[in-house]
Point group: C2
Chain length 368, copies 2
């Protein structure tokens, strides 16, 4: 069977009431589906994407070189089997791949929001998704699976829409963003803001796509450090030096430097700087306990079968953070929760790269 990839954008005219007290109105949500919805709508699996991810988590568009970001996991006969499940992944609000974000036109003006865009939270992101699912007449799903910021969304679903999903898998994530991760985001935001080509937010997006934005490239380089680990960098690059460069040339480069440069500058061709600022803000202020007396009180709301998956050498969201959450759940009654630590030297990006280490687990959860 084919993947049956479909991409849609839905337009909403009712206001979206945000956690901040502000509203977003109107707004669009772009999403992608794979597989086929069954008659009783019992086969829906929701995928939630990370900071710079998108709704395009599987399959290959025409003229595309690289498939969706979790293509190894999602498809016919894969762990998230599209022969069986109807998979939906939405682009979060605040992002830049079709859903409303800071560079979307601010109704009724014809100019982008830019800084007039409201700060959105992880809770706002899942609220918008929930409204989309309502429109699609999907009121309960089989599972929600997400990694990194996608894992934050999955956990937020577990608390705020406790009856919406049967099963939830939150990977490589945390219960509240810790200062280490906030610090990396700070390097990126400061670097973007101080780049004169950012023009204090009044840049021309086409110019940036063409010419790059070094401030965002530098920020992304810092990001890439946080996605890896000492060990994965050692394996990937060692102390290999570019053959064409002299060791005693000030600008001679190690391979790891070339890697960061390439990925940093390439990133500015496909991601929007204001979206980066807004989404990192959402990540920074993510805290499952907000609005509750404690994390324990928050977790009492959980009804779904909850799976926490961490990676042993994840330096961005440490395994210990998932263990802390697991221990909070252990104290509560009537919870069906599981914790698995995947042994991996790769670092945070293991959830995108080392699929072979957890795909069976995900498969068993979905089929079990």
């Amino acid at each position: 069977m084919s993947l049956n990839l479909q991409t849609h954008t839905e337009h909403f005219t009712n206001p979206l009431y945000l956690e901040s007290g502000r509203i977003l109105e109107p707004y669009d949500i772009t999403y992608e589906t794979y597989g086929t919805l069954n008659d009783d709508k019992s086969n829906v699996v929701v995928i939630c994407h990370a900071l710079t991810g998108s709704h395009h988590c599987a399959g290959l568009y025409e003229n595309e070189n690289k498939p969706g970001w979790w293509d190894g996991l999602i498809g016919p006969n894969k762990a998230i089997d599209t022969n069986r499940f109807f998979v939906i992944c939405t682009n979060v609000i605040g992002s830049c791949f079709g859903s409303t974000g800071p560079m979307s036109t601010m109704h009724p003006h014809h100019e982008p929001y830019r800084y007039k865009f409201p700060v959105v939270t992880i809770k706002d992101m899942i609220k918008a998704q929930r409204i989309l699912f309502d429109r699609l007449d999907i009121h309960r799903v089989h599972a929600i699976v997400g990694g990194s910021m996608g894992g934050m969304q999955a956990l937020q679903f577990a608390i705020h829409y406790p009856n919406f999903a049967n099963k939830i898998v939150a990977m490589a994530t945390t219960y509240a963003t810790q200062p280490w991760a906030i610090a990396f985001n700070k390097v990126a935001s400061e670097s973007i803001l101080k780049d004169p080509d950012f023009q204090q937010g009044y840049y021309d997006p086409e110019v940036i796509k063409e010419q790059g934005l070094s401030g965002m490239a530098v920020g992304r380089m810092a990001g890439h450090i946080s996605f890896l680990s000492h060990e994965s960098m050692k394996t990937k690059f060692g102390r290999e030096y570019k053959r064409t460069d002299g060791l005693y040339e000030l600008f001679g480069k190690f391979q790891v430097e070339s890697y960061l440069e390439y990925n940093g500058y390439n990133f500015t061709k496909w991601f929007d700087p204001l979206s980066y600022l807004y989404i990192t803000k959402a990540i920074n202020i993510f805290d499952l306990a907000r609005g509750f007396d404690s994390l324990e009180e928050a977790m009492k709301k959980v009804q779904a079968e909850l799976h926490l998956v961490s990676f042993s050498n994840d330096l961005l969201f440490k395994s210990s953070e998932m263990r802390e959450l697991h221990e909070v759940l252990n104290k509560l009654e009537n919870k069906n929760h599981h914790y698995m630590e995947v042994a991996s030297d790769y670092g945070h990006d293991a959830f995108l790269v080392e699929l072979d280490k957890f795909e069976d687990y995900v498969k068993d959860v979905l089929n079990g």
Copy 2:
């Protein structure tokens, strides 16, 4: 007894032959001494500084708020007791506190070197120090102690001047800089280079001191992440948010963000950007095995009593790197080497901050 702090600068007119094949001529070395040299010159302790350190490692100048960077360790009756030892710390060449660096005047011109300054290595740094000590008629010292890049110098002394020191203590350092550390330096160098106020190296240093250099500030923020750890950040900042800022304000800040901002921008008032580029280059290309068939061959040269000290949660130069070096030494005959891992959650900066955890060890080494 008093600290007897003295600061001097020596001028050298003979060329310094560098590892790159280039020469530095003439050059200055600024250094500081504490305590008193005894008659048979047997009480000299050399201190080696880190990336942004200087010769000023102890004591307080007039009108200075903060004492030298290892003041807690060095002084009368302290671990490195200046009642007993004559302590010397030199500013490395390439730096910006008196020794010749990229912003020094390039003889016979009246302009700074800037990019005409040669790349210097850790080996070059210690060679210059050795020449200074010769002029001071000091041909053998009791001990050399250094942390981070200072530890690299200490190890390089152990190999290249095997009979120069009785004892060597290398802390929070490595045998060859690994890609994780190079990656952090890359974020900083890229950020500096792309800042228009850096003017492609042709900046006015006075203007930068007054107005700051956001590119270097951002780079330093990344540096500060690498100096800390998840745990120290959690203890220091948690998720504390600035009281005057709204949680849903895009530019509202967590305390960790304020800390990075303050330290990042303050740094540009006292450190030179070209020195930063040159010294991080020296760190990146540091490799004890260079010029030898293997690290083992290099370590065969060691004659001094060698102490390797690492910090359990150092994320910049991991404990495992010192252990690897220790294991190499274990394979060799007739070596007097010791390895100690200091249990610490602090991160790399523990060697500057948690003196109480290793001062007794240093004291015992020096007195033993």
